[in-house]
């Protein structure tokens, strides 16, 4: 048995107190690091500064699913830190290692759309699939496909998996858009495959393919 749900939210704790709290949460072995739900409603004094520290504490956290709080004067500065924790877009590896645990919670007031989307994405039970979707959406798509060159470096044996993953993302995106009844752009997976094929014509050139099959000495 362990403490999984902690409700705080005091009139006496200032942002300085909460910064201490989240710094302690980050410590290895801290019981706070094993919480599943943390609620800090009331006048909890969660400012940008607190949110940045909290976001930092949650980078490697795989336990906390619900974090409810009321912010005070929150700006993009604080929310950017949360977004970075949920999806560090600097590389594929960093996205993969981002927080895929924290889920959307309607009680977080005025959550920016970008953060809401990431929190919603985290609600998927298959965290591997969540990471894959984030990688496709935020690494390959957001840069207008300019990051596709990363795929060119991969082993040929990986290509069927890549195409399969992109195709599956297309289905997931369409289904998600249908459920939400939104008219968002959904033909993203196929679009990526199209860009990939254009970027790697040798892969589909019969002569180039034959050369590849015969091995490097034939080239």
């Amino acid at each position: 048995m362990s403490l999984t749900k902690l409700n705080l939210g005091s009139f006496d704790v200032t942002s300085s107190g909460w910064i201490t709290f989240f710094n302690l949460m980050e410590r290895p072995g801290s019981i706070l690091g094993r919480l599943v739900e943390l609620e800090m409603m009331g006048r909890s004094n969660v400012t940008d500064e607190v949110l940045i520290i909290a976001a930092g504490a949650l980078v490697n956290n795989t336990s906390l699913k619900q974090f409810r709080f009321l912010g005070r004067d929150l700006t993009d500065v604080g929310w950017s830190a949360v977004e970075h924790t949920l999806c560090n877009k600097s590389s594929i590896d960093s996205i993969y290692e981002s927080n895929h645990t924290l889920e959307y919670n309607g009680m977080i007031m005025m959550t920016p759309l970008t953060v809401t989307c990431l929190l919603r994405l985290n609600e998927g039970k298959d965290k591997g699939e969540v990471a894959r979707q984030k990688i496709i959406q935020y690494y390959f798509l957001e840069g207008n496909g300019c990051n596709l060159h990363e795929l060119m470096k991969m082993d040929m044996e990986m290509m069927p998996h890549v195409f399969g993953c992109f195709g599956r993302y297309d289905v997931v995106s369409r289904e998600g858009a249908r459920r939400r009844q939104t008219a968002k752009r959904v033909v993203v997976g196929l679009e990526l495959i199209y860009r990939l094929v254009r970027g790697m014509p040798a892969l589909f050139d019969p002569l180039a393919k034959a050369r590849l099959c015969k091995g490097p000495e034939s080239i």
Binding site: S2, T4, S10, D12, V13, G17, T20, L24, L32
Partner: protein, 408 residues
């Protein structure tokens, strides 16, 4: 569509009107009803008791699963008077789809009626209740401010309580109790099949009536007892505690109060003596959930409760939010939980607030508080509104981490 509640749900209304337009669909497939989630009986919105609801009841339609009569609405009062209950009363008595019926009276329901209309209303209300009494599908019956006096109410509804094997939850609020009505009620309870009963804020709840009611609850093996919004003096509290002592089936006891946020007055209190009697019963009983939120028990009541908790090995949930236990009471409770292996949820939100003269609990106080929870089985700790203070955050977390290993 799994919702049976309909109400303001436009989709339900739309579907109902589709069904209503087709007379062949009167006999609903029972299989479709089996997909109805029982939680829908509590959630969603009920149909108001009007022509549309009555039509659904006539058709024995599954969307008439939850119907509510509100005495606050003049239209509904007029509707109740306009029905020929002698002729059409069998609509309620014979329907098999009605699962949840709420009747909400109104204090001044008769004030604006002339004598003739009052007589007509009383007659209609009696016939209305008789129709309910013959029904055998209702699982949840809620009556708040009965349309009839308590003797008439129980005289008519006793057979229903005794014989409706489907009745699961009976909720009665703001009745005026007297010896005859309590005798009728307890007699019915001893023969019923209920799992839960709520008697909220009834006038004239004496120690004698409390004893009779709680004993009857014990006889029929009711698991969940809600006695919310009472100001219990010593005698009533002792009567409740003594009667609870004999129970071995009760799982949930709610003694929740209510606070008027404008006047800051509690409706719901238990004296320390009463709390002591209730706490003593904890040692012998089977209680798993105890709700005392918004009930004024004070630090003395918390201390009494703590004494009872020390010997308890069944309680899993203890809710004391807004209960004025103050800092001292919170520490007493924490001390009583030292080594407790069953309590999983403790809600002390807004209960340990500062009173005049108190200061923020010192670091030593918090160390003691969390140390006391050593080796307990807590999974959910609610301390919202507690006077922690910046200077005690480090202490709190250190206590949780090292001094008070709440996890095994």
């Amino acid at each position: 569509m799994s919702s049976i509640t309909g109400g303001s749900d436009e989709e339900s209304r739309h579907n109902c009107s589709d069904v209503n337009s087709n007379s062949d669909t009167n006999n609903d497939d029972d299989n479709s009803e089996s997909s109805v989630d029982s939680e829908d009986l509590y959630g969603g919105e009920p149909y108001e008791f009007d022509e549309e609801a009555f039509d659904l009841l006539k058709r024995n339609h599954k969307y008439a699963g939850w119907v509510q009569f509100s005495g606050w609405s003049q239209e509904q009062v007029d509707f109740l008077c306009s029905i020929s209950w002698r002729k059409d009363g069998n609509v309620i008595s014979s329907t098999t789809k009605l699962k949840n019926l709420n009747i909400e009276g109104c204090e001044d329901i008769l004030e604006n009626m002339d004598e003739k209309k009052r007589k007509q209303f009383a007659l209609s209300a009696k016939c209305f209740y008789r129709s309910i009494a013959e029904n055998r599908s209702i699982k949840i019956l809620g009556i708040d401010r009965s349309l009839l006096d308590s003797v008439d109410t129980f005289s008519i509804l006793s057979p229903f309580i005794e014989q409706n094997q489907n009745l699961d939850f009976l909720s009665l609020g703001r009745l005026v109790l007297d010896s005859k009505s309590v005798t009728l009620l307890t007699s019915a309870l001893t023969k019923c099949n209920l799992r839960s009963i709520s008697l909220e804020r009834c006038d004239n709840m004496t120690a004698e009536f409390m004893t009779q009611i709680v004993n009857a609850v014990g006889v029929c093996g009711i698991q969940n007892l809600y006695l919310d919004k009472y100001d219990m003096d010593d005698d009533v509290g002792i009567a409740l505690g003594k009667s609870l002592y004999k129970h071995n089936t009760l799982k949930t006891l709610s003694l929740t109060g209510e606070i008027d946020h404008h006047s800051q007055i509690f409706i719901g209190s238990i004296t320390p003596v009463g709390m002591d009697a209730i706490a003593v019963s904890l040692a012998s009983g089977s209680l798993e959930k105890l709700y005392l939120g918004n009930t004024y028990i004070g630090r003395e009541g918390a201390a009494a409760l703590a004494r009872g908790l020390a010997d308890n090995s069944t309680l899993k949930t203890l809710v004391l939010h807004d209960s004025n236990v103050e800092l001292e009471g919170g520490i007493s409770l924490a001390a009583a939980l030292e080594g407790n292996a069953t309590l999983e949820e403790l809600d002390l939100s807004n209960a340990m607030f500062r009173v005049q003269g108190d200061t923020i609990l010192s670091a030593d106080g918090w160390i003691y508080f969390f140390d006391s929870l050593r080796n307990c089985a807590l999974r959910h700790l609610d301390l919202r509104g507690s006077p922690i203070g910046d200077e005690n955050i480090q202490t709190m977390v250190d206590s949780l981490n090292t001094r008070c290993p709440l996890q095994s």
